[in-house]
């Protein structure tokens, strides 16, 4: 479990983090979202004990990495944004070195490293120098080092940034595979990735937490978006939709066919908006050709969180 309690960080006159509090429960995947410069990397560096906070504290399974560095860091695997690789070492040498650093018993290191290379798809590359690996394999090697010592908590900083689509898919699958039984905190500015992998989302903006919620509650928490394709007069439908209970906005979307209107309806709360729309359209004799819940709730939540 990761607990961040009132953490602030100041670099000279720059306030990088302001009173950040969050909690990543055991066995859950927590996504840390934010624009570039929001303070994500600073926060992760503080969580892992690489940096010290100006105020506040961090607990890894109940231990502060600054006060009890060795036991706290034993529970922790960290993949920084740039994998910390020594180019002159082979993959296997490097992982053996990291395993020894993580205090894996000397006799268990060869088996442990073999297992990790198998999990991360590095077995065939074990004799290669790290400096000769492609970006995708370097990222895998970074993952592999984070897994050395079998830590309970994994902290991953933008693990898919700069990778090609195939590599992104592979790395995401790897995170999903690893997520069983571990607490994972990873930062990203890719909303789809967070939606796919996380149980819980924290949005950081200008160093402060703007939203902290389970991913499943995001739609209900901040409203519901409906995308409707209807038949009927545009003006009449828009005017009528604006009177629905809880409606926040009604926007006409491009791309409707002949005599069709595509509307994007945003509701402030989750009071069965589909039922209201159906009843209204029935009364207006306006056939509903298609009605779906918006897939971009998280985008809306994110944009709203950082615009407040």
């Amino acid at each position: 479990m990761i607990e961040v309690q009132g953490v602030s960080k100041r670099y000279g006159s720059v306030q990088a983090l302001r009173d950040v509090t969050l909690r990543a429960p055991e066995g859950k995947v927590l996504g840390l979202l934010g624009q570039n410069g929001a303070g994500k990397t600073t926060l992760l560096n503080i969580i892992t004990g690489y940096l010290a906070p100006t105020s506040g504290r961090v607990l890894i399974n109940g231990r502060d990495p600054l006060l009890e560095p060795e036991p706290a860091k034993r529970e922790l695997g960290y993949l920084p944004e740039h994998p910390p690789l020594y180019d002159e070492m082979t993959v296997e040498e490097y992982l053996r070195f990291v395993a020894a650093l993580k205090q894996v018993k000397a006799g268990s290191i060869p088996g442990h490293v073999r297992e990790i290379m198998g999990k991360t798809g590095l077995t065939e590359m074990r004799e290669r120098l790290l400096g000769h690996l492609s970006k995708g394999y370097r990222q895998r090697a970074g993952f592999a080092q984070a897994l050395c010592g079998d830590p309970d908590v994994l902290v991953l900083d933008e693990p898919t940034v700069g990778l090609d689509p195939k590599q992104i898919t592979e790395i995401r699958a790897l995170i999903q595979k690893l997520s069983a039984g571990k607490t994972i905190l990873f930062s990203s500015h890719m909303l789809g990735e967070v939606r796919q992998l996380c149980d819980h989302v924290v949005i950081l903006h200008r160093g402060a937490v703007r939203l902290d919620a389970p991913i499943g509650e995001l739609g209900g928490r901040d409203g519901v978006t409906l995308l409707c394709t209807l038949q009927g007069g545009e003006r009449r439908l828009v005017a009528a939709m604006n009177h629905l209970d809880g409606v926040r906005s009604v926007a006409v979307q491009p791309g409707g066919g002949e005599d069709e209107v595509r509307l994007r309806l945003s509701f402030g709360h989750a009071a069965t908006p589909e039922k209201q729309v159906f009843t209204l359209c029935s009364a207006l004799n306006a056939p509903i050709l298609r009605m779906t819940r918006g897939e971009d709730d998280l985008e809306q939540v994110f944009l709203q969180a950082i615009s407040e």
């Binding site: 670099y11 000279g12 720059v14 990088a16 570039n36 410069g37 929001a38 303070g39 994500k40 990397t41 600073t42 560096n45 892992t48 004990g49 690489y50 940096l51 010290a52 100006t54 600054l66 560095p69 060795e70 036991p71 706290a72 860091k73 034993r74 922790l76 960290y78 920084p80 944004e81 740039h82 910390p84 690789l85 020594y86 180019d87 002159e88 070492m89 040498e93 070195f97 990291v98 020894a100 650093l101 993580k102 205090q103 080092q145």
Partner: protein, 239 residues
């Protein structure tokens, strides 16, 4: 500590640094041996060792400049500093690896001792005291240079600053002669590595000098640990 030592030792010889250092040190010590002993037909081992100081001052920054700066440049320090290994062990491991490479270079200068022994006389006591002083002085320079590199972000400035620090501590006794304030002059003379090394090159086993070098090494390593620890509180990172 042993894990860090092994990695650093391997890194010296997976890159040209270790070979170049040992090669250049050995070649130049050969030149010094020729100039100080062979060309003058002198059998004095201690004169040869005293002449090697300049070489040590010049070359130890090559060994230490990468130890901390390179980790920061390549961001591999994130691995070390987030691992369950104390800063003291990290610094000791790195220092001992540099000291081991230095030890190999010092060991190879014994070829010169062997030549002197074959064509003259080298007394074991003289050899022991001379090499003890020379080794302590070299290890002192290494510890000082490691501390200097702890303040730097890039390797070349680290090497230049380390050489300047070596030179300053070596020459500080000359400054002491020019200072009229008695306590300041005494303090500068106390810090002079030349003055501290002098008893050994005169063949005297000085416990005061021995203690001074051991304290210098300990203080520099301790200060390096503190510098690295302080950086957690001060350094900026990518947001």
């Amino acid at each position: 500590m042993i894990t860090v030592f092994r990695r650093e030792w391997m890194a010296y010889f997976r890159t040209p640094v270790g070979y170049v250092f040992i090669g250049v040190f050995t070649a130049l010590s050969g030149v010094i041996f020729y100039l100080s002993n062979l060309s003058t037909l002198s059998g004095e081992l201690l004169i040869f060792l005293s002449q090697l100081t300049l070489l040590v001052m010049l070359l130890t920054p090559v060994l230490t400049m990468r130890l901390l700066c390179e980790e920061r440049q390549r961001r591999t320090d994130q691995l070390l500093l987030t691992s369950p290994v104390s800063l003291t062990r990290i610094v000791l491991g790195k220092y001992l690896a540099a000291a081991a490479v230095m030890g190999v270079a010092i060991g190879l200068t014994n070829v010169c001792t062997l030549i002197l022994a074959l064509y003259g006389t080298v007394y074991p006591g003289e050899w022991f005291v001379g090499y003890l002083g020379f080794t302590l002085q070299s290890m002192g320079f290494l510890a000082l240079d490691l501390l200097v590199s702890g303040f730097m972000k890039n390797q070349v400035p680290a090497a230049i600053a380390a050489f300047a620090a070596n030179f300053l501590l070596w020459m500080v006794d000359l400054l002491a002669d020019k200072v009229s304030v008695a306590w300041m002059s005494d303090a500068l003379r106390f810090l002079s590595l030349y003055d501290r090394y002098e008893p050994f090159i005169l063949g005297q086993l000085s416990f005061a000098s021995l203690l001074f070098f051991l304290l210098l090494i300990g203080m520099c390593l301790l200060a390096t640990v503190r510098v690295m620890d302080a950086r957690r509180f001060s350094q900026g990172g990518a947001a």
